[in-house]
Symmetry: C2
Amino acid sequence: MRNIKVVLEYEGTAYSGFQVQANANTVQEQIEAALQKLTKEQIRIVASGRTDAGVHAMGQVINFFTNSNIPAEKFAPALNTWLPKDIRALESSEEDQNFHARFSAKWKTYRYLILNREAPSALLRNLAYWVPDKLDIALMRLGACELVGTHDFRAFMASGSSVVTTVRTVTESEIRTLESEDLIEFRITADGFLYNMVRIIVGTLIEIGRGKLDPSVIKRMLDTGDRSLGGPTAPAKGLYLVRVTY
Amino acid sequence: MRNIKVVLEYEGTAYSGFQVQANANTVQEQIEAALQKLTKEQIRIVASGRTDAGVHAMGQVINFFTNSNIPAEKFAPALNTWLPKDIRALESSEEDQNFHARFSAKWKTYRYLILNREAPSALLRNLAYWVPDKLDIALMRLGACELVGTHDFRAFMASGSSVVTTVRTVTESEIRTLESEDLIEFRITADGFLYNMVRIIVGTLIEIGRGKLDPSVIKRMLDTGDRSLGGPTAPAKGLYLVRVTY
């Protein structure tokens, strides 16, 4: 069977997350339904990782096995004829039999958008987290810098998660403003992420930006593993899976 | 009666344009319904201008007269409790009796977003016009420059419109790329716009970017008034009313 890789963009707003679950509309379900229409096969896909309800993707990666003889690069446009408009296949290719969207992933990049202005936004209502209190970006940057390197990130993991190790390597952790000064982007690249890791980091950086927490709290959380030192988990709608590198 | 000005942001996707019309959901209708709930008055609003179905606003301006004693700056947050999430009041103020959102307007700025990449986008599906053919931005800039100044823009007006004069003064007409190189923004400021003027300009600039029309076509259209020399009218969803200056 052929092993096909597809890169996906989606807006998570309408979905109960990525992974198939009973009585819920999920991204995976939509893709598998589109693949069935396209190939007449019952296909189970593998993703680089799940995204939660409301989380978006600019470059989610999936793979699946098929007997279809559709040319590899045609899967993306063909899928788009069956997928809903809030899910788009960006590109597709054939990989060797060992390629696995999750286990072969080397690096992942996420971004988180914060709209920092007094008035709420109609256009970004599902695409950024609105924080009306003025944030000090310089303080947030000091906090973000502390994340770079290999650390035990267990203080940045939702309780109840079970993983073999909570040590991860972060190679990029940056705050910048986009187009307009009131749109703040946090961007982070790591070899893996714990459950809710980016949203707990962002929730903590926001408290730093508000002046409620000192930037040094990040280092203390890394040192002690104490989740309770940080801010609340930031909402899903500001989060985007940007890229998966293999 | 007090004369209240409100600045609005909205996503036009779900609406049949701004202006009230029979059997259609419009932005004006939503705002007047919210004002009625808020003030218990039947209020008719005046806008800086209509926007067509699917066109967005980052800074539409309206005004209305009311006997309500709500503090002027409280109208915006109070309206937001009644408005749908895709319409947000950004700020509100009290103006003198002569202020008129349409007739007092001095300058208006629009922007138009073009997504210029091979793959369509899920996140920008209603917020930008997807053009998969590679566009030459340098050529588009040459065309855009020709628009600056006081000209007869009748070649850039939808047929069937009636106006006293088709002469307008453009003070800004610029092409730039945003965050990512594949997102192209055209921005234009003028003392007024003819019906479909920005969308006809953009449709023409896109044909220039494709190499189908020469940048000199803009000057020829201004000189001859011949609409047929230009490109098609670009779709509504890429267009944003950015700002109205008084």
